[in-house]
Symmetry: C2
Subunit: 353 residues, 2 copies
DNA sequence: GTGAAAGCGCTAACAT
DNA sequence: ATGTTAGCGCTTTCAC
């Protein structure tokens, strides 16, 4: 007999799914035989070579794909609790952005691992703007707890419209009814402006990607607002086509070539700053003498840029510690009021200013 | 009645696992009620607030953790096949090393996604040297196919000792009986040596981390061998404590401070090259005039180092394309002879030589 | 307002 | 040499 779900699926005109059972019926053997072959245990079970071959053929012909959920449920050892933690990020964002969160999750997980308690940590990928398509997000069937990051506004809207029945912490975004950890709004941009204002510069430029996230937008706005307030002059906005250093270099080269001034640059991500460095140096300008540069500190190697990059940005270690602590807390006591934690930016003065 | 597995687990002295059923019995309700509360659907099911509270309390008290495999199996829509792909890497290796593989997997997966066919791509983390502890690796209960990378020798030995009954491709390592894609052995080191030899240098140095992987070891050896053969002089080896630019900078600073010469440097990873840059410049030496530097091309931003880094290393896009094509091929036709694919290194001449 | 029961896909123990 | 079957943990339908 076939399950009602399947009946419904078939009624909708869908193909019947291929399971071990489909294979078994197709070949005329039992599901056990199929399973044995799939696990390469046919030798020890002494299956007839001909049978094995027929099963293998059917597996290929029918395009069988094992259902890992079934396997996992079956294989599951009741003596050990298994906890799956995910960091959800986009294909589009640079991977290193989640490095710190990953390391912190690892530390917490390791500290809590014991006999009867194991963690799996993974980075789950989604397409920016299409978080809603992520399997298992709504029904909690993939992870026991997740950190969501690098969302676009569409994703934020989607999250705001649903209630996920498990532990979720949002990193670097503000979304209603979620636990969010973000940098103090506007503070980064203001501190960056103060540093450059203190250097008594004239032509302030902010370098951003074309697609702004919540945080990059806030940084740029707060920066421009404070500079305008203090100097009475508007900030020039240079827009890079994408997020890479190459995009930034192109944009800055164009800006400089056009003869529009720049002696104080705020780049809203470090990758952009790196590209700007090249454009600035190629234009025979010196950093910081001719152009002072402030970045954000999201790149692991900002200290090894030449000159080392002054950064004002999320105190990532602090942010990430909040996020992960909260995640574990949520997993223990499931009903915690969603809230917003602000973390003051950290300022690291280096040679670029 | 309780399953035999559980009986065995309990016989072994282990605690009985906490499931919805445990909660239900503890509170004196049905599993359905518990499930309802866990999904926050108690309103629409009109459960008594008191019952809800009791269930919530029990969930906390007993430390219940949902089994995602059970949920997923249940939630599973027979009309759509779900394929889980994993890139397995270590906490210790820099995350960006898997960026390219990730992007390629994404492309292939996107191209094959359709109605009735969805992919999940994730990066699975393990501790270097402890791949064997990864849950679901042996019983194929997590992924339908994986790319394994950044293994240490212990991990290689473990893999060599087992047969995984699903699609596995090893990236950048040579392991018996697996599908492996690696750079042509020794070729990177030799090409790097040729570039520096052509620049007519005197004091050849190779910079490596203390812990060598298969590929870093081969690069260093082949480099040293060719330099020795051509010049008759041995190559100096500078060993960084770890994999970071800071480690490299320390090691190179010590080397230069000791007055031991260096006018040709081969760094077996780009992060090391970045650190070396700083040490070299701090010593008032110019790149490439005083020291020519060759890196590997594993860092996304090698083109934006100052000066841009000449790289001889795995043609990552080619490697990754092989790996991913192979992975999908293995998933379709499960019995493919394991083999080793060599990819010639790509050479990108930039200003550092 | 709550419970009983079916069944998702899989594998291993036990039958034959 | 192969088949039958129980049951992993969960949610939802249906019955009361």
């Amino acid at each position: 007999m076939v399950g009602s779900c399947v009946m419904r699926a078939m009624a909708r005109g869908e193909k019947r799914p291929v399971t071990v059972r489909t294979i078994a019926e197709h070949v005329g053997v039992s599901t056990a035989a199929v399973s044995t072959v799939l696990a390469n245990r046919h030798e020890e079970r002494r299956l007839a070579p001909a049978t094995v071959e027929k099963i293998r053929q059917a597996v290929r012909d029918l395009g069988y794909v094992p259902n890992v959920a079934g396997r996992r449920l079956r294989a599951h050892d009741p003596g050990v609790r298994h906890i799956d933690l995910g960091i959800l990020t986009t294909y589009e964002a640079p991977l290193f952005l989640v490095s710190r969160a990953l390391r912190q999750v690892q530390r917490m997980a390791d500290a809590r691992t014991g006999p009867g308690r194991r963690f799996s940590v993974s980075i789950g990928m989604y397409h920016a703007g299409r978080l809603r398509e992520m399997p298992g997000l709504l029904d909690a069937s993939r992870c026991n707890g997740v950190i969501v990051t690098n969302t676009l506004p569409e994703d934020d809207a989607f999250l705001a419209s649903v209630t996920l029945p498990y532990a979720v912490v949002v990193l670097g975004r503000r979304i209603a009814n979620y636990c969010c950890v973000i940098e103090t709004p506007g503070e980064s941009g203001r501190r960056a402006a103060e540093i450059l204002l203190a250097a008594r510069r004239e032509h302030f430029v902010v370098l951003t990607p074309a697609l702004l996230t919540q945080s990059t937008a806030e940084r740029a706005e707060a920066f421009a607002a404070l500079v305008l307030e203090r100097t009475g002059r508007p900030v020039t906005r240079v827009i890079a086509g994408g997020f890479t250093p190459a995009n930034a270099a192109d944009a800055m080269r164009a800006h400089l070539a056009a003869g529009r001034g720049c002696d104080a640059l705020y780049a809203v991500t470090d990758s952009l700053a790196l590209g700007a460095y090249q454009a600035i140096k190629d234009g025979n300008r010196r950093i910081p003498r001719d152009v002072a540069v402030v970045g954000v500190g999201d790149h692991e190697h900002a200290d090894f840029f030449d000159p080392p990059l002054t950064c004002v940005g999320p105190a990532n270690d602090a942010v990430v510690e909040h996020v992960v602590t909260w995640l574990f807390h949520l997993m223990n006591h499931r009903r915690v009021k969603p809230a917003e934690v602000h973390v003051a930016p950290s300022v690291v003065m280096r040679a670029s200013t």
